[in-house]
């Protein structure tokens, strides 16, 4: 067995997908593991390295699987444990890693633990959850799903008590003060790690403990338990990873890395809306500012970056003014708003402007962090805000122009959700098969960007250094790793922009544009002038003069 690079996650490109939405292998209208397995070659072709599977556990599916009713099984509509193993082995055989979602904070109210606990006060499972005779405890905790929930407590008539839930009322929070719960979660992780999964994306990690007089978020007890989970990984499953979903400001999210002894990765939530804001306002400040406020993280840790995911584009981490601008710019129809966010996909958010979509992907793949691509965004899939909740961004993957977008052979009426059919984003216009055949398609453009990213570890592991050209509409930065230096220049504006970059430290070096291999003029002491088309970007490899034409000591007398 080749030795596993423990930092593989820094170089990887992640791909988030839902088994339910990817491909229906048995014609029942619901995506499944057999279907997903049959599409692994497509993912290899795309160039991604690690798949992040949304919850695939048995569940009543009232929150798209985040309401888990059995941590050790597979939702029957998706397949069986054996089929999961086949899928996992097939992915590994292709060099793909697989990270599964693990909801550590809560379960479904249909979970046997909750059912047993609510019925029998003496049941050992009663204390697996947080019960109270009053709904006034922990009043400092905010309500997250403001559109649907009025309180973090719900009354259970069978238990004659209130139970605590930070999310939907059908998702009771687990009680981590109970050692049995902590041990149970260890065993659940071992169950999947023993099967070969490469790690977990841990859902809703800031909320594990409750303490009076606090916001019940980011508590020291939570971090202590997360360190326990990390120790388990390091001790028993080295090379596997933990990815934190902690929708927090960077300084709070930073805590989830600990001293390199908690999560390997954590999403950088505040960056994501600022990428959109920067493009909308044609100003680099939102991006450079958030990096200014992003603390240094341990060497062995990494931010995880994303443009869109299965949830709404969350605007919790922006100011009221910025949120207003985001709503004004990207959610003209009130139906597009959900909670404190916008339930739309990348392409519609960008008005299907190919240049802006590529620009945002350029940022995603070159800013410091591990990029996560949401399924379908690589072909510019659209959304359907009328499907309720966040279902509009969870529609079937559009494989071709056949019935049901090639997703399923089932009667269209049986599909778990209807595919997108509108004239702009409908599957007849936007699908994998068509884009595969068109060399200039978005799919191929994303493939090329991913391939270019893979040519240098500077993108995954290098430090970032923002340049400060006078033109605020241009975002330029260096990525450095060892002797490798990359220069990324992005035009955030809809119009062509000139920019002069101070590249004096690289005088004599040559810039090689990475996507086309074009050699640009050498850097001199004078400002380096570039012009960029609307939303244009350059990825340059900075080749030191010495490296570009390394002298061999024979040139002057070689003939």
């Amino acid at each position: 067995m080749p030795e596993v690079d423990p930092l593989w996650f820094k170089d990887a490109v992640f791909y988030e997908l839902s088994v339910r939405a990817f491909l229906d292998g048995n014609g029942d209208g619901i995506g499944d593991l057999a279907g997903l397995t049959s599409k692994l070659d497509y993912l290899v072709e795309l160039g991604v390295d690690c798949l992040w599977l949304l919850p695939m556990y048995p569940s009543p599916l009232r929150d798209d699987g985040y309401d888990i009713a059995d941590f050790r099984g597979i939702l029957s509509a998706y397949g069986t444990l054996e089929e999961f193993q086949v899928f996992l082995d097939a992915a590994h055989a292709r060099g793909l890693r697989v990270v599964t979602d693990l909801v550590v904070n809560h379960t479904s109210d249909q979970h046997p633990w909750f059912q047993a606990g609510r019925r029998t006060p003496d049941s050992p499972f009663r204390s697996y959850y947080v019960w109270s005779e009053t709904n006034q405890r922990y009043s400092g905790a905010r309500i997250i799903f403001t559109d649907t929930e009025k309180s973090n407590w719900s009354w259970d008539p069978e238990a004659s008590a209130f139970y605590w839930h930070r999310f939907f009322s059908h998702q009771p929070d687990l009680n981590y003060d109970n050692p049995a719960v902590r041990a149970a979660m260890h065993d659940i992780m071992r169950f999947w790690l023993d099967r070969g999964v490469d790690g977990f994306r841990c859902d809703a990690v800031p909320y594990l403990y409750e303490r009076e007089g606090t916001s019940c978020e980011n508590l020291p007890e939570t971090h202590a338990y997360l360190r326990e989970l990390r120790r388990l990984i390091d001790r028993e499953y080295p090379g596997r990873i933990l990815l934190a979903e902690a929708n927090q400001w960077p300084e709070d999210a930073r805590a989830y890395f600990g001293e390199g002894d908690e999560f390997h990765l954590a999403f950088h939530f505040p960056l994501m809306p600022r990428l959109y804001l920067a493009v909308r306002s044609e100003d680099r400040l939102p991006i450079t500012d958030i990096f200014t406020h992003t603390p240094v993280i341990p060497e062995a840790c990494q931010w995880s970056l994303f443009l869109r995911n299965h949830d709404e584009l969350t605007l919790e981490m922006v100011t009221d003014e910025e949120r207003a601008l985001m709503y004004y710019s990207f959610a003209s129809d009130p139906e597009m708003k959900l909670n404190l966010g916008i339930r739309r996909r990348l392409a519609p958010l960008m008005d299907n402007d190919r240049r802006r979509i590529e620009l945002l992907n350029s940022l995603l793949l070159t800013l410091p962090g591990t990029p996560v691509i949401y399924y379908g965004d690589e072909i510019g899939m659209g959304d359907n805000v009328h499907l309720g909740d966040r279902n509009g961004v969870r529609t079937p993957m559009q494989w071709n122009g056949d019935r049901n977008a090639g997703f399923s052979t089932a009667d269209p009426a049986r599909l778990y959700l209807p595919p997108i059919t509108d004239p702009v984003y409908g599957y007849q216009a936007v699908n994998v098969e068509a884009q595969r055949q068109a060399p200039a398609s978005l799919l191929h453009a994303i493939r090329r960007l991913i391939a270019a990213r893979k040519t240098s570890r500077a993108f995954g592991r290098g430090r970032v250094e923002f340049l400060r050209p006078a033109n605020q509409r241009v975002l330029a930065y260096l990525r450095r790793y060892g002797a490798e230096v990359m220069l990324i220049v992005n035009n955030l504006a809809a119009s062509a922009q000139p920019v002069e970059l101070d590249l004096r430290p690289f005088a004599g070096a040559r810039l090689v544009e990475m996507l086309g291999g074009t050699r640009f003029p050498s850097v001199r002491e004078a400002p380096y002038f570039l012009s960029l088309g609307p939303y244009g970007f350059y990825w340059f490899k900075v080749e030191p003069a010495r490296a570009a034409t390394e002298p061999f000591g024979i040139e002057g007398t070689v003939i």
């Binding site: 034409t549 390394e550 002298p551 061999f552 000591g553 024979i554 040139e555 002057g556 007398t557 070689v558 003939i559």
Partner: protein, 414 residues
Amino acid sequence: MQVEALDALRDSAGTVDVVIGIPTYNNARTIGSVMDALRDGFTKFLPDTRTVVVNADAGSADGTPEQLMAADWDMVGVRARHASAARERSALPYHGIPGRAAAQRLILEAALALGARACCFFPADSGSLTPDWAVRLLRPVLEEGADYVSARYDRRRYEGTLTTGLIYPLVRALYGLRIHQPLTPALALSGRFVARLCAEQVWETDPTRHGIDLGVIALASLERFTPCEVWLGRLVVEAEGRPSDLATIFSEAIGSTFGVLDHTADGWIHVRGSEPVPVMGEGATAEAGAADVNVNGMIRAFTLGRKDLLPLWEQALAPETLVEVLALEPVPGEAIPFPHELWARVVYDFALAARFQTLYRPHLLRSLVPLYLGRTAAYVLETSRGPARDADGWIEACCRAFEQQKPRLAERWR
């Protein structure tokens, strides 16, 4: 210079023994010392020789022709401007003279028009030219019946590795003449050889763009003109403005070498083995040591080339050659096992690829550079600790491999 002008010169100059050809381009820094050395040499060693100096200039902007003509030497001078491509004037070729072939042709035609018994060429950018160079080059022609006198230079070990490792073995195997410095800026030709060269129709073709050096050797071999080599001492040139990156130098020099193969295939294809050429004078022993050679850089370039250029090599190399090349595994600090026979096959395969245009020519030529560097690294690592004769032995073994493998080239050339 126009033909009419040459005719006029012939009428006024009477019989001319020697035409001294000096191609120039912005050589003001060195032309003075070159002219002084030539003047001293002719005055001392060839005082009775009737000489005309023909300067073919590519359009110097530094007053080179004026300086040349102002030399303190009682001689007849002809100043002419030869044609050259603008691209060569803005980015000098490896030899430093834009339109070098046109300059050579102009000088040869002047020699022909003047009925000269000999024509010799000297580099205008050499700081090491000494007064005896002229007599060394010309005496074999004027007194001993030689038609073609090629210079040999004293070189430090690992100078001229492109010549010793590729051009010399290739030219020797092709034409059967052991001319050690095929691309020399100093040479002498007999009047009858000049007449034959002027009748050649290859002047305007691209392979001769950088000069007719190989054309001269081919003609000398195939039409039995009498060759000879003379030792001249060190050759030091003023290289300012010339390309400094190896890939450019390499592709220009090897590009024209491969190009000449096409024009002379009818002749070389029947040549087997090689003959030594009479050598006049003594050369100095090559100094030991490889301190100035970046062997590790060469190995890195070879390794990188093997990784990045495989798609090109697949098209250029025969499958069995490619397999052996890919099996070459440099070990840090140790020699690369790059056998002479494999190197010969590599070069021949690339020559064939150039002939059959299997790849865009500039890409083809540049993709050979890492292989050349790997081979040169092997040469340095194997010979640097031994005496100079080890290096000479390596070169001789390489030449024999080129000769042994030549039937393979000839067979596939058809």
